[in-house]
């Protein structure tokens, strides 16, 4: 059968560019263990994983070798009949087992036209059994990965307990074709480009802010001999990543969710507000703060289950004076985000280039120090046959921090509480910096939720 070659969509391209720049595929790896604290029939699980290679088209994506300009194309292999390996780590401590899987994370998918995912069945310590998934980010993002794990477990429950066979997953290829058509819609492109140009110019040049305070920008100003510089230098040599995880209890999480529902705002915007308020606090009450928000473009039913990488990131800039009440500030963030959502089919790389070109930012500098991605979908395993069984999901960092602080917020599969997972650049930040950030974010969020009419200035000075 003749294979059809497609270009990467914008989400995949965003993942591919760091590979092209750094020359290593490692920075594009996602590695996760997902399992249950119960006995698992591994022969059956193997059958389900093999089924999944057939059902979930994106798992069969292959990439061509880069062309002269360094760009690759993709196609979907007709089948993948590989065996599924098994790994027994049950005789180790959990720490040792995690360290072993962490090492595997660094393995690259080096060649062209090879499978870009490896699913291994694993027996872990403490009675946990499940899968270790090592995959190139262009095949799935976190939503896509969760869809896959849930689908495999639905298949397992079907074969094991006779529950309903899961609905088919959407075709990656069909959604990709639709994405590429949208990207080629010249009217849409023109509208989006106009929006982004206005968005990036309406308030002039953004200004950098850092959790370590204004000295970081001042140091860059000295280094560049430019007192008006509004960007800061980025550490590009040492990209080693630190991880700090915090768990917000389910009751406290519910308080935030209830507030969001009552006020008609999203959790993303509430978290963004707490992040920007902390940056404001640490930078002498700076009103003009820009964050980076990652948006998973999954809106239609097909987009939810087609896999692929649909995460794009855009700058979220808010200018909030200190006399603004918390709730009004929240609506301001929401308003900006809604405007961005309407134009988020646009290429985020083009937005970043536009920003740097507009203000002539020097190489290896940034306006943004913190990024957020909020993942509302938990690894559900909602099948009644799995109810009450402890689950364990571990995301192993790929060892390369592409952002100074990258916060991923998810819902715990065990209790529904929020997990704040910070990946930070160890060369410039410490665990204590991140712990302090989390502490103040929580303090500010809960104070604001309790007193929505408190002003941002008061929130900054009294927390």
């Amino acid at each position: 059968m003749e294979r059809i070659l497609y270009p990467l969509n914008v989400g995949q391209m965003l993942q591919y560019l760091p590979i092209r720049e750094t020359g290593t595929q490692r920075c594009c790896n996602i590695s996760v263990f997902s399992g249950l604290q119960t006995e698992i029939d591994f022969d059956l699980l193997k059958r389900c994983i093999k089924d999944e290679y057939r059902r979930y088209e994106c798992l069969r994506l292959r990439f061509t070798a880069p062309d002269e300009e360094g760009f690759v194309q993709q196609y979907i292999a007709e089948r993948d009949d590989r065996d599924v390996p098994f790994l027994d780590l049950s005789d180790r401590t959990m720490e040792e087992a995690d360290a072993y899987l962490q090492e595997l994370t660094f393995e690259e998918f080096r060649d062209a036209e090879i499978p870009m995912v490896e699913i291994t069945m694993v027996r872990m310590p403490e009675g946990y059994n499940g899968m270790y998934i090592h995959v190139d980010h262009r095949l799935v993002d976190s939503s896509g990965l969760i869809v896959m794990v849930n689908d495999i477990m639905e298949l397992y429950c079907h074969y094991r307990f006779g529950s309903d066979y899961p609905e088919p997953l959407a075709s990656f290829e069909e959604v990709l074709i639709s994405d590429l058509e949208k990207a080629g819609n010249s009217k849409r492109q023109a509208r989006d480009e106009k929006f982004w140009h206005e968005y990036l110019t309406e308030n002039g040049e953004p200004i950098y802010s850092d959790v370590r305070g204004p000295r970081i920008l001042q140091e860059s100003r000295r280094r560049h001999s430019d007192k008006s510089l509004r960007v800061a230098d980025v550490e590009t040599r040492d990209r080693s990543v630190g991880v700090a995880d915090f768990h917000l209890e389910p009751e406290a999480t519910q308080t935030l969710l209830d507030f969001c529902a009552t006020q008609g705002v999203s959790m993303t915007n509430l978290i963004l507000l707490s992040m920007r308020t902390y940056l404001s606090k640490m930078n002498g009450g700076q009103e003009d703060i820009t964050l980076r928000n990652f948006v998973s473009r999954r809106s239609t039913r097909a987009e939810w289950t087609c896999g692929g990488s649909r995460v794009l990131s855009f700058p979220c800039r808010t200018i909030i004076p200190p006399d603004t009440e918390f709730l009004d500030a929240l609506y301001e963030v929401q308003n900006i985000q809604n405007r961005i959502y309407l134009h988020c089919n646009y290429d985020p790389v083009a937005v970043d280039s536009m920003l740097k070109k507009l203000y002539g930012a020097p190489a290896d500098t940034e306006y943004i120090s913190m990024s957020l991605t909020y993942q509302p979908m938990p690894v559900r395993m909602q099948n009644e046959h799995l109810a009450g069984i402890n689950t364990r999901s571990v995301w192993y960092p790929n060892g390369a921090a592409t952002k100074q602080i990258y916060l991923t917020v998810t819902h715990s599969s065990n209790d529904g509480g929020l997990i704040f997972d910070y990946h930070y650049q160890k060369a410039v930040l410490t665990y204590d910096d991140i712990q302090k950030l989390y502490y103040y974010m929580m303090k500010m969020m809960f104070r604001g939720v309790e007193e929505p009419d408190i002003t941002i200035g008061e929130l900054i000075s009294t927390t």
Binding site: K182, N185, K187, R188, R191, G264, S266, V295, R297, S299, T300, R301, A302, Q334, Q337, N338, R339, Y341, L342, H343, C344, N345
Partner: protein, 78 residues
């Protein structure tokens, strides 16, 4: 061209309902499960499908299917 039918088919792509189940008083967020991102993406799709340009401020005030159809018809008749 039956704009109403095409419009409802477009809405159906975003939720777990068949187009025949929609009524004009259904609210996008509360009844159909739209969130901020999916609603704004839907508006973008609407622009592309019907080759029109929405005014953001007016579009954001839409809460129900009936209001959306009325707004769309107004734009298409201009």
């Amino acid at each position: 061209m039956d704009h109403r039918n095409d419009f409802l088919q477009l809405v159906a792509k975003y939720c777990d309902k068949d187009a025949s189940e929609f009524t004009d008083d259904m609210r996008f967020r509360e009844d159909l499960g739209f969130n901020s991102l999916s609603f704004m993406t839907f508006l973008g799709d609407l622009e592309d499908t019907f080759d029109m340009e929405l005014e953001e401020e007016n579009a954001l005030k839409i809460t129900t299917i009936g209001e959306a159809i009325e707004y769309m018809n107004t734009l298409l008749s201009q």
